[in-house]
Each structure stands twice: as structure tokens, then as C-alpha cells.
Amino acid sequence: MKKFVNDPRSFVPEMLTGIALANPDTLKYVPEYNLIYRADAPRDDKVSVIQGSGSGHEPAHVMVVGKGMLDAACPGDVFAAPPMEYVLETAKLLRSEKGVLLLVNNYTGDRMAFEMAQELAEAEGMLVKTLFINDDVAVQDSTWTVGRRGVAGNFFVMKAVGAASEAGADLDDVIRVGEKVNSVTRTMGIALTACTPPAKGSPLFELGDDEMEIGVGIHGEPGRRRAKLASADEIVDELLGAVVPDLPYASGDEVALMINGLGGTPISELYILYGIAHRKLEEKGIRVWRSYVGEYCTSLDMAGASLTLVKVDDEIKGLLEAPAEIAIRVF
């Protein structure tokens, strides 16, 4: 296993320790619950926004705690939803008069942990609501399964909800905004390699040198189907072909376009995909309003990428453009 790691069991706590040490003025860390939260939270004039999810998706979600984004994140182990207790304790610590919003990527484990925590927090008299994110178009048949999962598009929901709550919106309005963004956001992912969870020590699946997995999520599981490795042009066609007709995004629409790296793919390649996707969208009459290229929601060291579109209107534009300061920065 080619990783910088001491004991795989301390992978998450050691990462969180690093984040805390790197941001002594702005973040606090509670090791018992894998909890990273804003030093200035909770505030009674602001809805507290919390995101849980498993680890292995960094920078999501622990590294996007900060002004204008999350108030707290309490990740579980790699690819495992946090134990309910983490969520409950986090919600209690972030208790605010204006309420607490739990953002949840739509997976069985996460849903259960957050719903249980919400119930118990409500029992203690807290105002707590849950919002599910499910932007992944790779999941079909969602009527008889657990439904679509939340993947890299969750960034836009977090950003919008973070901006609204920062501006003082009340809980219902923060939820309205989050649901609105979620409803116009669609994502499709593709993997070129499998990823290696530190505790497993070997890749989750085998992929031939000339193969790729289409329709992958963010937990390293195989996708919907396997195909022969294709050119960047063909891959963008595949991704747009899945995403564009799904909402659908139509000529005249304005969109935010995200090319998200899954962890092992360098940013040079992401910009290649971006350029191709940008041109193909403009050819369809869909105007790219703003670009998002880089790593937003990863699967450890998986080589691959996902493409997300958000149909924007003036309200969404304003929320996405609002300033934010997060734990990781380039400067």
C-alpha cells in the first residue's frame, strides 16, 4: 500500500489532528467524536450546518468547515458513516436558537445515523432538521432501491446552505435553498483505477490496464458497468450524455460546471476534461456561468473524475459567489 500512514486505525484521527494544528485560530477539534468545528460556532443568530459522512472524501467534508460553509463535520471512519453518537454529540455542541441543519449524503448508513440523532436531539428539545443530497445520475431504478446517492454535487448544496445561514436565514429558508440547489444538481462519475482503503491495504477491485468503470460513486465500489478505456473526448460525451438529459439541462440554461477529481488524477487532466465539456455544453446552447475544477469530493487515491452541472438562477448565483473561508486554502 503506497500511503503515508502510521497505523491504519489512526488514519482519520491523525488527519484530523493535522487539520486542527494547521488551523489553530479558526477550528476546534474534539477527538472523541472525530469532530472539527468552527471556533466561533455555535452562534444563536445563525443556523448551525453540520455534515457527517464517512472519511476518504477529503476535502469533503472536514476540510470545508469554515465561514460561509460548514459549521462542523463529524466524519466516520474511511467510507463508513459516523456512529450515531458522533452526530448526536455534534448536534448538541452546535445547538443554536436558530436551529441545526444536518446535511446528509443519501446512503443507508448515513441516513440511519442522522435520523436517529435527529430524533434524539429533538427529544432533548432541540430544533434540528435533516436535508438529503442525492445528485448521482448513475443510480437508476431508484424506486426500489435506496435511491440516488450524494456525490460531488454536495459541494454546491453545502456552499449555498453555508452562504444562506451565514446571511442569517432561518432554518426553513436554509432548507429551501439547499433543496432547491440539490434539485438542479446532477453528477456522473468515472474511475480509471480502484482505490485502496488504508485498513484494507490493497485496491478494492481489479481493473485491467485498458478498462474503466462508468457510474462510480465515492466509496470505491465498482460502478454500473465496465468499459474499454476511452479518450477524454469520448469520456466527456459519456458523462454529459448521462447528466444533461437527466434534469434535463437545455439550450438557454446557465450552469455551473464542475470537474471533480476523485483523488489520484492530477489537475492537468481535470482541465483537459473541463475544456472539452465547456465547449460541448456551449455547442448545445448551455452557457457555462462558472467553473469548478479540482478535488471537491474524492475516493481516497482513486484515479477518476466526475462531472457535475448545476442549473443556476440569480439566487443560486448569489449564494455560490458569496465569500467563504475554509480550512484548506491555496494562500
Binding site: R9, A81, E85, T108, G109, V139, H219, G223
Partner: protein, 206 residues
């Protein structure tokens, strides 16, 4: 059966979940995300560490303490599922220090109902329910037929194993594996196999 037997069962589950961390994880890596073994092990590790400290006033209290301890640490889908299962089973024997065969069936049924309520899965969705439910049926049948506890333990193990193997033909509709659609057909469900392994080990040491 005595409360010691309940403790023996719980202890076997604990030890086996630790023993099989890698095996359960590898099963989950086939069409899932590989964390199943790890998640269980992190929870049962604490159960093992705190084993001597649990309140043993009755079987129900004992199991409840175990359930709370493990849920605090197991994440993923398995945390709420296994925590709920043990908690519901505990409820059935609250205040009892002696547990009958009928109690065992009732505990399993309560666990199944709890798991379904928690995760929304039905039989045939390719989850651990597909091993748990047939096993409960077998125990019930054996009890009705007047079998010895020894025979019942063996029959339960056989039944769970057969049911677990049969999950191979199912398509996953719950959990991570469901996202792979038809590709989930052809491999066993890790949760169901875990139930079979635990049942076998319990029977072995009965």
C-alpha cells in the same frame, strides 16, 4: 438456557467479528466498499475490552449494555443495524435470567423487525436478513419438533449457511452493493455470510 449461555453467544459473536475482520472486509470489497469487517471490529473491540464491566443483573440488561457500547463506535450501515438488532433482542429478555427456546425465536424476530424498521430492507434484498430470517424459521421448526438445544444450534448453523450461500443469486437492493445493479448478482452478501459464520461458531462451541 441460562444467562451464561446468552453471554457465551454474545462472546462468540464478539470474538468472531474480531477474528474475521479481514475476511468480512474482503467480502464487502467485491461489490461494496470494503469497510464491513473494519466497522464491526472497531465496535466489538470495545465490547471485548469492556466485557467484564457490563451490568449482568439479567440477560436483557446485559445485552442492552452491549448494544449501547457497540453502537457508540460502529459506523457505516452496520452500526445502526447491528446495534438495533441487539437492542431489540435485549428488550425481549428484559428482567430474565433464564432464556427459553421460544425466547430465542422471539429475540430473533424482534431483531429482524428492528432491522427492517431501521433500514427499510425486505427479504430478498440481499442483506443479512436473508440469513437471519431462514435461521429463525429453522429454530422455530426444530423447537416444535422437540429437538435438543444441541440439535437446534447445529440446524440453525446449517440453515444460515445455506441461506447465506443463496444470496449469491440475488440482486442487491440495499446498501452500497445495490449501486452496482445487476453486477451484484454472483457474489454472496457479506452481512448474510457473517450471520452464517457466527451461527456456525456458536454451534461449534455449544
Amino acid at each position: 438456557m441460562s444467562q451464561e449461555r446468552v453471554e457465551y453467544v454474545m462472546r462468540t459473536i464478539t470474538d468472531q467479528c474480531l477474528e474475521n475482520e479481514k475476511y468480512f472486509g474482503d467480502l464487502d470489497a467485491v461489490v461494496g466498499d470494503g469497510d464491513f469487517g473494519y466497522s464491526l471490529a472497531r465496535g466489538f473491540e470495545i465490547v471485548r475490552d469492556q466485557w467484564d464491566t457490563f451490568d449482568r443483573s439479567d440477560a436483557g440488561t446485559f445485552l442492552q449494555k452491549v448494544a449501547v457500547t457497540m453502537s457508540g463506535r460502529i459506523g457505516g450501515t452496520s452500526g445502526p443495524i447491528w446495534g438495533t438488532a441487539v437492542l431489540r433482542a435485549a428488550g425481549v429478555v428484559k428482567g430474565k435470567t433464564e432464556v427459553t427456546g421460544d425466547d430465542v425465536v422471539a429475540m430473533l424476530r424482534a431483531a429482524i423487525v428492528g432491522i427492517q424498521a431501521r433500514g427499510g430492507a425486505e427479504l430478498g434484498d440481499k442483506t443479512l436478513l436473508d440469513a437471519l430470517a431462514p435461521m429463525a424459521d429453522t429454530i422455530e421448526e426444530q423447537l416444535a419438533a422437540g429437538a435438543s438445544s444441541d440439535e437446534i444450534a447445529k440446524a440453525a448453523a446449517t440453515s444460515a449457511r445455506a441461506a447465506a450461500e443463496a444470496t449469491k443469486d440475488l440482486q442487491a437492493r440495499r446498501g452500497r452493493a445495490s449501486y452496482t445493479g445487476e453486477r451484484s448478482i454472483g457474489s454472496v452478501d457479506p452481512g448474510a455470510v457473517a450471520v452464517a459464520v457466527l451461527a456456525e461458531k456458536i454451534a461449534e462451541g455449544w
